[in-house]
């Protein structure tokens, strides 16, 4: 492998990895950084299972090249909790049974957090459209939407 060195920040920590120039950031995060919470469902940006934030923007990491992460700030599901305290979204996903198989859960959590960071009190419709880039095949989205509504309430109470 001919690799290019990438210096990046992942969940607040300085991280360095080398990857071929045509490798996706998803593959780099999974295979080189070891963050397997970033899931591959399609590799074509259609399912959202590999959702991360790049400098605060929600992206499908399968549509970003690893080398593009140089000097950028990456957020993944592994960085959602604050030490041993789960993020309210994580708590409410568990409380509301918003996951069955759980493969889409990391992507949903990252996408939902990106929504709540921008919109503290989204309507049901806003939640549904904000999460429309993430596919879930188990739940019919019912309990996911309810979990996001509950987390949004928790976050507003906290402030």
């Amino acid at each position: 492998m001919t690799g290019t060195l990438v210096n990046t920040t992942v969940n607040g920590d300085a991280v360095q990895f080398a990857c071929p120039t045509d490798e996706s950031l998803m593959d780099a995060l999974r295979d080189r950084v070891g963050l397997t919470g970033v899931k591959e469902g399609c590799g074509t940006g259609d399912c959202g299972a590999c959702s991360i934030t790049l400098d605060g923007e929600l992206v499908c990491s399968c549509l970003v090249l690893g080398v593009e992460a140089n000097g950028r700030n990456i957020g993944t599901v592994e960085g959602l909790a604050d030490g041993d305290k789960l993020h309210p979204l994580q708590e409410q996903f568990i409380n509301h049974a918003a996951l069955q198989c759980g493969i889409c859960t990391p992507g949903f959590l990252v996408a939902a957090k990106a929504l709540l960071d921008k919109n503290k009190n989204p309507t049901e419709e806003e939640i549904r459209y904000a999460l429309a880039g993430n596919l879930c095949r188990c739940t019919g989205y019912d309990k996911i939407v309810r979990a996001v509504q509950a987390a949004s309430k928790d976050l507003r109470k906290k402030k």
Binding site: G41, C101, A132
Partner: protein
């Protein structure tokens, strides 16, 4: 030890409560390990070369240049895969790797294992295959026509008399039913006859097939894999590769959805073969394109349904001729469709004939209540037409003819206590039924049936010295069953839920368990858990008797503790499970309970769905406005996850009804092998999905469990079909009811 499986109607303390799942934290933090998340030192990357043709002879296959490429450690073709099964599983092997011919677009012809993905990709390009294209057929009706291209030359239709002498694409004809339909139709005041089609869909699990295989020259192997049945994978992989079952340890990873699609092997035997040849661990992960083309979607179908009824709504006869394509490999899906078609109804005269048909498409696998949704679409659509013809409310027509205890099922046996009547009554009384509809909106309802089954199951309970309990299960947890099993275990032992830790064992650590399919997980592992816990309780009573030095007959187990019975034992304070566990070393060693059982007697399951849609007459687009699922669950162990099964099945059915379909070109190639063009429902497509759980206990399970996972996908195609037809004012007979099909139907009706 044999145990009484019959329903005990006990009062529950824990079962039925909404507890958090034990694997929840792992799954919301990214820690949970799925099929593609495991790695081994020195692992190779496997990639597959797949056929670009729907049907072709492989004239020449040259891998020599690929083998010579630096970094390539193994190349496998069918030449490396002799049949070790005396033909018994040759078709499974042939699906994993084409032999002298390719049978569908995407059929694997070779696989490589190399040090990294880049090298493996280069190696695939160096493999030279020359094909001789053969005529192909991908449509089920076309495949049945005389003179259709033959998918296989050695198939002679079974189930017809006399035996045919010419080969055909029809593998099998299966007839079910009773009475005399001719007489029945003669008695009818109204007869409705209609033909329907449904297109092929995929289970659409978000996690592609993935595994990490490792086999050494000593014949010992390990397979980490996403599967619904790791024991089944072990059985099949060992047979295909000529390995000893006990020397192949299969560990089921967390599974990212299966819905039937992960009941069969696809890439796994090849990953093992590559590893054996390279003597290195091999990781194989399917791309989404491969998942669509070369795993196991469900059938496309075509059917003719005929129902006759009297003016008072009594159905006098029903007949169904249903044609299911099984892909390029013999299946029994048409047969299963024929069994389920009329199972909701109490019919004097009924006949359903299922045809299993080969086409040049991937091997069909189970998809959640396999075969039932399509047959239900045909029958339930026709039921609405009958209701309309005699001027009866469609739900009243269904209630009048609903099967009940003592009804002879259309597939044969006589029903015990069943829930179709109650779900229909609940639907009729549901506020949803009385909600007002606006312009361009329509309401539909339909009911559905699924068998459920049990099967071989093996479970261990081990009590630790501190009184916490390991529950070791062999059924893969596809949607929260570790929580349900922990509830059941805690209920039996009389301890708190969080004192139990449930794990799914690998194949070397516990006896055989059938695949988690047929809605069997909670039914059968629940049964084995109850019996294993009861065995552990017997042991704990012995230990208490020893401690107290009294006969075990004077010990009873109540609320998680041993109590000495009788006045003379009044001075003996109870011993809790914790007390007994702490003294285990001094009273005879480890305390465990074990159970192996063939869990028979799974209760059949029924559901009724109500759906409101709005159809845009300009675009043909349909929106689901409201959706209600009513299903008999038997006892609901963890209602949150029962609701989740109801909602998930409904959502899959909605996608099937409105959007999802495999589109094949004239060249026999799949044109939409990705989530962009094969569109499954997204969050903004759906409303909240209301659920109502009915609990009609299954008499054949100590807790009354039936199994809930599959039935929820049976009614949606028909419920939505009826709703769309009511909204658009034209009968829809072709699923999916995509905008172009709806527009075409509206235009044809206007013309």
């Amino acid at each position: 030890m044999t145990h009484d499986q019959s329903f005990t109607n006990q009062k529950f303390k824990l079962v039925g409560s909404r507890v958090n799942r034990p694997d929840g934290v792992d799954k919301v933090t990214g820690r949970a390990k799925y099929g593609a998340d495991a790695s081994a030192a020195g692992q190779l990357v496997a990639l597959f070369l797949r056929s670009p043709h729907a049907h072709a002879k492989i004239k020449k296959l040259d891998t020599s240049r690929a083998e010579k490429l630096a970094g390539v450690k193994a190349v496998i073709t069918s030449a490396d895969l002799p049949d070790h099964t005396n033909g018994a599983q040759l078709d499974v092997l042939e699906n994993c790797m084409a032999r002298d011919r390719v049978l569908y677009d995407g059929h694997a012809v070779a696989a490589v294992a190399a040090i990294d993905k880049e090298t493996a990709k280069k190696a695939l390009k160096l493999i030279k295959v020359s094909y001789e294209k053969l005529p192909h057929v991908t449509d089920v009706d076309e495949a049945m026509k005389p003179g259709a291209p033959l998918v296989r030359e050695d198939i002679f239709t079974r189930g017809i008399d006399p035996k045919p002498t010419e080969p055909s694409n029809v593998c099998k004809v299966s007839t079910f039913g009773h009475g005399d339909i001719e007489t029945g139709f003669d008695e009818a005041d109204v007869i409705i006859e209609k033909s329907y089609k449904t297109e092929q869909t995929h289970q659409g699990y978000i996690e592609p097939h993935a595994c990490l295989a490792s086999v050494g020259p000593d014949g010992n192997g390990e397979l980490w894999v996403t599967t619904q049945g790791h024991y089944t994978y072990r059985t099949v992989c060992a047979a295909l590769l000529g390995m000893d079952m006990a020397k192949l340890k299969v560990t089921s990873s967390e599974i990212g959805g299966g819905f039937g699609g992960k009941t069969h092997v696809w890439i796994e035997p090849i990953a093992l073969a590559l590893s054996r040849k390279a003597n290195r661990p091999v990781k194989a992960v399917m791309t989404r394109d491969e998942v669509f083309k070369a795993s196991g979607p469900t059938c496309s179908t075509s059917m003719d349904i005929k129902i006759g009824a009297k003016k008072d709504g009594t159905i006098t006869a029903g007949s169904a001729h249903i044609r299911y394509q099984d892909g390029a490999f013999r299946g029994q899906w048409g047969q299963l469709g024929a069994m389920t078609a009329f199972a909701c109804y109490d019919l004097k005269n009924v006949q359903s004939v299922g045809y299993d048909v080969l086409v040049n498409r991937p091997k069909v696998a189970a998809y959640r209540a396999p075969s039932a949704p399509m047959a239900a679409f045909g029958v339930e659509s026709t039921m609405d037409l009958v209701a309309d013809a005699i001027g009866m409310d469609p739900i009243d027509l269904r209630i009048k003819n609903a099967a009940k205890e003592g009804t002879r099922a259309s597939y044969g046996p006589t029903y015990g206590p069943i829930g179709i009547g109650p779900t229909l009554e609940a639907a009729k009384n549901h506020p949803h039924m009385r909600a007002k509809l606006k312009k361009n909106q329509g309401r539909g309802m339909a009911c559905g049936f699924w068998f459920n089954f049990g099967g071989q199951t093996c479970t261990d309970i081990n009590i630790s010295a501190d009184g916490t309990v390991n529950l070791t299960l062999g059924t893969v947890d596809v949607g929260g069953s570790r929580a349900s099993m922990s509830l059941i275990c805690a209920e039996e032992l009389g301890i708190p839920y969080d004192q139990v830790k449930a794990n799914v064992a690998d194949t070397s650590s516990l006896g055989h368990n059938d695949t988690t399919e047929g809605s069997r997980g909670t039914f059968s592992s629940g049964m084995a858990t109850i019996f294993a816990a009861r065995e552990a309780i017997e042991e704990m009573k012995e230990r208490a008797a020893q401690t107290w030095d009294i006969p075990v007959e004077e010990v009873e187990w109540v609320e998680g503790e041993a109590r000495a019975i009788g006045q003379k034992n009044d001075n003996l304070p109870p011993l809790t499970l914790k007390d007994i566990a702490a003294r285990a070393a001094a009273t005879g060693g480890p305390i465990a309970g074990h159970n192996e059982v063939v869990a028979d007697g799974a209760g059949v399951s029924f559901a009724s769905h109500i759906c409101d849609v709005e159809v845009d007459p300009e675009t043909g687009g349909t929106r689901i406005i409201r959706y209600t699922v009513i299903q008999d669950a038997g006892k609901a162990i963890n209602p949150d996850y029962v609701e989740g099964q109801f909602q998930g099945g409904a959502a899959q059915g909605i996608g099937w009804a409105l959007n999802e379909e495999y589109i094949y070109g004239d060249d026999g190639r799949l044109q939409n092998a990705g989530f962009l063009d094969y569109r499954i429902p997204v969050c903004s497509d759906l409303p909240f999905i209301d659920t109502e759980i009915l609990e009609i206990p299954n008499p054949n399970h100590p807790y009354g469990i039936r199994g809930v996972g599959e039935t929820s996908i049976v009614p949606p195609l028909a419920a939505i079909g009826n709703a769309v037809s009511n909204a658009a004012g034209v009968r829809m007979t072709h699923v999916p009811m995509s905008p172009p099909r709806i527009l075409q139907a509206i235009e044809e009706a206007e013309a």
